[in-house]
Symmetry: C2
Subunit: 408 residues, 2 copies
């Protein structure tokens, strides 16, 4: 069942890993050396990944640990996805945290569905025994004060305040609320509940994964390994990829948008993108920077949209750059006019489409001469749309590479 | 119903109080001035006192808040005794704390019974509406993680670490375990559950009582007042009264033992004893220090054993000092020989009685010539008791004032 006899399987598991802990490369005991254990063990490992179903769009930064999880699935192990539905429902009771809003059960269910939809291209949902999806309310909801006291008793204030994030805030005199100490413990208790052998996470998860080890020991279970992956820089090549910084590529983006973002990834970070987001052999990458960018873009688009669309997208976008808009491309995303009450000014409609952030930007783009309809520049900012037929089937273009086709 | 029209009632409530908070003596609003509120309100206040049923012997140090609670009962208010049975049953999960052993439900029930037995002379158990006895497991047992998260979210790490006890330990690098933060919150939540108007405690309870105020506000209840009583110095006049320091007077002690400890209370603290342990007018105490000690001893013994026995005890002990042991006194405590297997050396039996701490001390006392049987000094340390008749009905005396009569 396990595929680890093949050397490429192990090297795929190890690719791009930032840290494994505990790690004693000389250890005879496989409980201190994950790679040795992985090669010796004759049962599937339970590989945990915790998900906050807060409804955030999943992007390539998140895909790194998911791709690693897939590598473990392909090697015959069991991915255990833990949906933090309990954590999301209690949220942050102070209401002060933007990252922890309190969500209703319905919102959480919708977010989970949307999450699974977005990560479907990455994980193996089909092979029996390769994926478990759990909800942490199952075990957290029934914890009582006595059990919670036990969890809290495994840690000291000093240990908790040593955690990145808490330490700085505490020493700068910013409030650290006591319930915040529960989150690492809840995540750690998830490892107890599912009897995790290995937990994956970004490098910012080391503390929480270590808490999981402590709690497993407390409950007489063998402690899990931790496997940390690097944090992906955004398409600006500078800051961590994040939706709020606008330097991200969402897994659900259409092929054109994904391709055009990725073909601009800066030289400084492109090797890291190849290592973390593809399985291509790093020593065989093209030397020419432009070729490298196109290869990255095509490879990643292939993962999410398939090879044919990736090929078509690349061809389309190269043609556009050479000859302007190709109105007949089936790849141009569509925007339905159905919900819009007419008459209304054109810039207002443009502001509602995904290619402009809002109607002010739409006005500015028209004023700057950057907006074309079926290839003709729009000059009248106040152009009023009287009937849906004025736009139906036409392609509007903003700047060089953003297109939308209007549909009924 | 409320007796506050009488000025002596208010002055008894105020007697010996160390601090009331919040306290704004000029406040028109009675929620900032307890004494004004107490005089205006036309319903009984709910006056909370929390009890740890850990099985510790109740002593005069503990009696101070209980006596204050009685004063509130006598003024028409409701004493709400909260038995911390939940807290005692979870104990300290680390097992590191000697003051918080984990107790079984049966042990807790036995401790509660013994506690109530000991405090029976102090509180009014009889008048309807004057006493409620609650068990905090009633509301704490059913708290789930979500609610506990809410409780924790009302406080910051900085606030908790400012608490006496935590602050020193944390800054000295000693571990403060996270579950320790639960105790003040549990005590505080008790105030929410019983809708306390006023909580009594020693001066070391200010933090916990303030947490109760915070939690009541969080749950949209009017916050309780705190009333703090001083900590009683022990009979050594130096350290806090405590069983482990041996400077205590237990509420369950026999009259002779109680009297002889109290008639030696040092001058430096005797006024405080009168203020906190009696209702006698302080300005009418005798000037002579010896008379003052005797008055204190007789007054306190009266509270726990009644006036007749107090009178008899005083007479007995004065007679003993004048003329040696009075064997016929009915006040000499008894010690049953029933459980002892003979033959055995006398010092071994003596070590089992309450007048010697152990058999080594018994040996030493005999060697030092401090032990008499029916008035005759015992000189043979190795004296072997062959038959129960050697001791039956006789009075053994250790030092000047410790007596035991042997019974079958």
């Amino acid at each position: 069942m396990l595929n680890l006899a093949r050397p490429d399987v192990l090297s795929r598991l190890q690719r791009g890993v930032s840290e494994v802990f505990p790690h004693n490369p000389d250890a005879k005991k496989s409980d201190e050396n994950l790679w040795q254990w992985v090669q010796e063990i004759n049962r599937p490992l339970r590989v945990k990944l915790g998900i906050d179903p807060t409804g955030a769009e999943v992007h390539l930064g998140h895909s790194i640990v998911l791709r690693k999880l897939r590598a473990f699935q392909d090697a015959g192990h069991t991915a255990v996805l833990i949906m933090g539905n309990f954590t999301a429902q209690i949220g942050d009771p102070t209401g002060k945290s933007e990252v922890r809003p309190q969500l209703s059960a319905e919102q959480v269910a919708a977010n989970v569905a949307s999450y699974l939809d977005q990560v479907r291209p990455i994980l193996d949902f089909a092979t029996p025994g390769r994926l478990e999806i759990c909800y942490n309310a199952t075990w957290l909801e029934s914890l009582n004060l006595s059990k919670i006291g036990q969890l809290l008793a495994t840690m000291t204030v000093g240990q908790m305040l040593a955690k990145e994030g808490f330490a700085e805030r505490y020493h700068q005199g910013q409030p650290v609320y006591l319930h915040e100490f529960l989150y690492p413990l809840m995540q750690g208790y998830d490892s107890v509940a599912i009897q995790s052998d290995l937990e994956l996470g970004g490098t910012d998860q080391k503390f929480n994964i270590a808490v999981g080890r402590d709690l497993q020991r407390h409950f007489q279970l063998p402690p899990q390994f931790g496997l940390l992956m690097p944090i992906l820089p955004g398409t600006d090549g500078v800051q961590k990829m994040s939706k709020s910084l606008g330097n991200y590529v969402g897994l659900g983006e259409d092929a054109i948008s994904m391709y055009s973002k990725l073909e601009k990834v800066p030289d400084a970070v492109i090797d890291q993108y190849f290592e973390l987001l593809t399985n291509l052999p790093l020593e065989q990458l093209p030397a020419d920077p432009r070729q490298k960018q196109k290869l990255l873009a095509k490879e990643v688009v292939t993962q999410y949209h398939g090879e044919e669309i990736a090929h078509q997208t690349q061809a389309e976008l190269e043609a556009i750059v050479l000859s302007g808009v190709s109105q007949n491309s089936e790849l141009i995303p569509e925007f339905s006019l159905g919900a819009i009450s007419l008459p209304v000014k054109f810039f207002y409609i443009l502001g509602l489409t995904p290619i402009c952030t809002n109607s002010s930007e739409a006005r500015r783009q028209i004023q700057g001469g950057g907006v074309r309809l079926d290839g003709e520049k729009i000059t009248n900012v106040d152009w009023q749309i009287q009937a849906i037929e004025d736009l139906l089937g036409k392609v509007v273009q903003v700047g060089k590479k953003k297109f939308i086709r209007f549909t009924p």
